[in-house]
Structures are given as C-alpha cells and as structure tokens.
Amino acid sequence: MTIQDDFVAELQHAAGQVGPVAGLDGSAMGRRAVRRGRARRGALAGAAALAAVGAVVGAGLLTDGPAAISPAASDVPEGWTPVAVGGVRLALPPGLEPGADGVWEGTQDEGRQDFVQVQPADDGTPLAPPGSGLTPAAVDVPGAESAQYVTETSDDPAVAQDFTGTLHVHLGSGAVVQVVVVWGEADEGEDTFAELVGTVSVDDDSPALPAPDAVPELQPLAGYVREVPDGWREAELTGLGYAFPAGWLEDRSPAGVFPAGSTVRATSADGASRLSVTRAADSAGWPASIAPSSSHPASTFPLDGADVVQVETRTADRARTVTAKVRREGGRGYLVTVETPGTAAGRTLALQVLGTLGFVAGSEEVPGPDELPQLPTAAVPRDWTEARSGGLRLSVPPAWTAGSTAGAAVWTSGPEAGRAQETVRVSRGTVVDGVAPAPSGYRHDVPGADRVVVEVGERAGRGDAVQFVGTVELSRGDQMVVVEYAGPQGGDAGERFGMIVRSLALTGG
C-alpha cells in the first residue's frame, strides 16, 4: 500500500516522460567495463571478485604466450612522456591523457579506449590466474627484485579484439606494482607494451598511488606552473585575476551590461580555443573538498588564499574542456573553463591559462545584500502590455503570447523580425522552513516584496547559441515568486531584462 497524493502522481507521470539518455551505447559501455575490470583484476581484493573476473578472463582469452621483450632500457622513445608514480618510472606513448589516479587514456573510438594504468597489486593476486592458461615471463626491470609479465589477446566477442599486457614489478619493500596496457588494436598494443616495458624502472621517490578501491584524492595538476606567459593580456573579474594569449578576442558584454556581471569570455582568433570566467553565485555552498569519482577524475593546484581548487578535464570529439573551480577562503568562488583542441598543444594552453589565475582585491568577501550592485534597469516602453500572475504585476512587449506550463505562467515572444525567441516564466511557491534565497547578484527593489534576489547568467541554446538568462526571486513572508527571462545573448537581452524587472510589483495576495 502506498500513500500518495496527486502531486506525487504528477511527479511520477512527469518522470515517466523522461527517456533514456540518447547516444549511450550500452554494449560498448559494457565492453569498456569488462576491459577495465580485466585491467584491475590483479589488484582486486576479495576472493569472490577475483574468482568472478578470473573466470571471465580465462574463458575468453587466447593464450598467445608472452611476446619477446628486451631487457629494460633507460631511453625514452621519441615522442613518449616519462612519468613516475606508484613506485615506478615509465614512459607513456603519445596520445594518452591523464585520467583517474595512475591512469592515462586515449580518446574513445567506437567504444574502445586505449589506456595505461599503474596500480598497487599487493594482495597476492597472481599475475596469471589459475585456469587462465597464461604463462608469466620474466623481464629485467632496473631496481626491482623481480618482474614478470603476461600478454593476452581477446577473442571474446563481448570484449572485442584487443590487447592487454600486464607487468608485475616486485619491489625490495615487498610491494608489487602492476602496470597494465590495454589497447584496441592487438598488434599495435603488443608493440606498445613491449616498448613501454622497456622504459620501466623502480623509482622510490615517485608519488604513491591510493589503493584501487580507496576514495580517490585530488591529485596535483601535472604540468601546472604559476606564471603569466610573456605577452599575455591580463584581466580581472571581480576578484579573480586571469590572463589569455595576445590576439584573443575578449567579450565582456555580460559584465558590460551588468557591472558585477557574472561571466567574461575570450576566444582565440581562429575560434578553436575559448576561455570563460564566471563568478559562482553558489560558491558558499561548495564543500571544501569533493572527492573525484573513478570515472570523473579531478586534480588541484596551489593557489594562494584558496580553500577550494579543483580541476576537471573532459576530452570528447577531439576537443578538451578543462574546468577549474576555485574559491577564496571565506570569499568568492569562480568557475574557469578553458576549451581547446584535444591536442598536446591544447593541454599546454589550458595549463598556461590556469597558471595565470590569482586572487586580487574583491575576492575576500561575499557582499552582503546591501552591498550588492544596483541592477541597471531602463524605463518600460509605453507600448508594453501589463500582465498579471496571481499577485505579481509585470509588463511584457506587445504581441507576446501568454500561456502556462508546469504550474508556471509563461509569456513568449512572437515572430518579431530579426529577434530570436524570448520567454518570461513566472512560478510561485512558498519559502520552505523559512529559508529565503541567499543574497547574491544584484540589488533591486520591487514594490511589495520583502526580499529580492536578482541574478544574471547564460545557458546553452540551440547549436552554438548562448542565451542570456536573468532571474528574479521575490519573497514576501513565506510566499515566493520566481521570474525568469531568457533571450538571445549578445543583443539587447540584458536591457530587455532590466525593463521587465523594473515593471515588477507584488500587489495583493
């Protein structure tokens, strides 16, 4: 028996309209999970999990026998990147990017993704599980007590044709480090593994890796250097200093329209790279540390005065997006997003931009409600139409269409020549548990309202379009009204929003 009211029924009906996320290939995701599971098996804790994965491996692998690998060489192949982590030093082939702790990944291609992983393997799990048919072979790793490896090529249709090479390095301390290479193309994978093993040596000074199932910690951002490159243009957004290459086009239009504006952007001349800096309205609620998930790695870098510095990187469709979340201790928070091509040069560029970040005056304190800047507004044109929604009065341009949806009143612009569609949405509710919106954004008085919170921002529109979005939260007693305006970014949307805001008034109930 379920107690349920009409509202819950409505919610369930709405949830029933939510379809699965398009574009997810369950089979490919499953194969990826299997490959990752295979790579992790050497470090799995627990006999049950080991038995399960060992059975999978044993059932589907050809036992080619180890390929011949020459003793370890100290030279780093041309174009490879040396790294030191988890007790070993090795070199990584080109095209891999840092992922979760100890993982470097290539770009996904038809569900396949080449990767190299270094992890502890101290639980006694054998390199070749019983029944797998695998035969370990010894290899010389400088500094190690001993080292063995196995190579596998799958003929399991569930995991597709790919290559896995696993190296166990036994250290003098008794610890075992596992290096895994998983490659989508078997021959190339075998060559890559052979070359990579030749670069492995013991490095007692390398940073430790967490246990595979431990909660991952934010790792230092590799390659970060605090400096402003020569010739770069320096700028500031209300307390955060940043810089970008000379020749980039800066767009301060949101901040231009709204002096305390929340976002500024800069774009490279060829449009291939972009930077946006946004002052986060909700930064006070950020936890001091958000542990990254294994599928969502994050890192950090030293930033004077900060209590939150977290960086996420996403590479997709040959483009890289690096997002840094930084907050001044006790002060303001910012989101910095750098979009670049998914190349090594793009990564370097993103790191350079992050290296320019620094707090300046204005970041120390979040302004109180009376210290917020006044929202700039303009007079309401005489030909606008007055409208009402419950106790709210507002004006909208002539010929806009009134309607409603999801318990909200909506006004939508018509096919006005040369203008993209604009909407105004008004919804009502109650202030739950007396918690009114925190002051942020702009100050503006609305007749009849006890408290007014005005914020401006942007969001994605169709294609590459960006929309201007302004919201006003009005509260009186325990009643609240939220007004949201959305219009085309870059035009006079900000001015339009200001006119609408000026027209607002709370009248009777």
Binding site: F7, V8, G19, G30, R32, A52
Partner: protein
C-alpha cells in the same frame, strides 16, 4: 539537454525494466548483454538524479564497471539493483563543464504555451530542473522513494540511511518541489494536500 533524450518511455518504471536472461557463453558476454539491456533504464535514473546527460553517462559507466567487478556475486541475482545502488550513492553532482553541457534552450524545455491559460501537469523538463535544485540527499530519496516508487525500507537500504531519514528527506524534498513547481498550477500557492490511500 533533455532534447537529446530519446522519446519518452511512456509509463516505463523502474520495476518494469527489462530483465536480462542468461545469454551468451561467457560471463563477459552475459555481462555485456546485461549492460546493453540495462543502460537505457540506468541512464534514465542517473539523469533524474543529476539532470546532466554527460554526468548521467559517467554514472552509468561507473555503475557498469562496479557491477562487472561484482559480477560473480550479483550476476545470477539482481545486477540491476546493484548497478542502481551504485548510481544512487555515487557523487551525482559534478560541476558545470561547459555552458553547452548543462542548460538548454527554454524553447526545448517548455511545451508550447497553452493559449487559454488552462493548467498543464508537471512536465518532465521542469521536473528535472526542479530536482537539480534539491540538496543531493533529498534528491536521492525523492527519486528512489517517490519517482521510482521504492518502499521506504528499500530506499533506506539502497541509500544506506535510516527509514527515518528517508521519511524526513522525502518530506522536505517534496515540499521543496511543490514550491519550485507551483504544485497547483494556477499561480496560487495552496497548502500541501493530504495524502490518500490507494
């Protein structure tokens, strides 16, 4: 965002998900078949929880990887429940990656205005947006307990919290949703309606 979602699965509920029958000759084949069949339903749950299709994809991938690692224990039982639990207890909120990733054109989100002003029921996009404004703990409970219609005990078990916490978080979450969605749809706020027993 939601415009990229497939057409609605009308009436599909968590308890009506496709059950994967044993198929394939190897555990990996059986797991991959499970992944293929379960990803749509898992992604739907993930999307309700996080409101971000990229994040939802990450969550599903994470759930599949954890489920595969536990396949020896759960493969012959209820692997879907295991995967759902991974999603429900994972860190569901990342932060905004790019402006294109997170928010959508209101024209995509709003059904066509109703000229005569008559009310419509809560639409899916408004629901997803409203859910995103709930604290994570409340959101998890609302999605599992109320949207997926799990019992209080099941919800508590899956989230690893007490039944009392389910009650309180669910109550507060629903109250907040009522506020955000203007539950009566007329522009006038009304007290929460009392429950009925069905």
């Amino acid at each position: 965002m939601t415009s990229d979602c497939a057409p609605a699965l009308l009436g599909e509920r968590d308890d009506e998900r496709v059950r994967v029958v044993a198929a394939g000759s190897t555990p990996a084949e059986r797991f991959t078949a499970f992944a293929a069949a379960s990803t749509p339903a898992l992604s739907r749950i993930a999307y309700l929880l996080c409101g971000d299709r990229h994040r939802a994809g990450d969550l599903v991938q994470l759930a599949l990887e954890r489920t595969y690692l536990a396949w020896g224990r759960v493969g012959d039982g209820d692997p879907f429940a295991y995967a759902r639990r991974v999603i429900a207890t994972a860190r569901i909120d990342g932060w905004r990656r790019t402006r294109r990733d997170v928010l959508s054109d209101p024209a995509d989100l709003h059904p066509a205005p109703v000229p005569d002003g008559t009310r419509t029921v809560v639409d899916r996009d408004a629901l997803v947006r409203a859910l995103r404004r709930l604290p994570e703990a409340q959101r998890r409970v609302v999605v599992l307990r109320h949207l997926l219609d799990r019992s209080e005990a099941q919800t508590a078990d899956e989230l690893g919290i007490s039944v009392g916490a389910v009650k309180s978080s669910g109550s507060r979450g629903l109250a907040r949703l009522r506020q955000l969605l203007g539950a009566d749809g007329t522009g006038e706020t009304t007290p929460a309606r009392k429950g009925t027993v069905r």
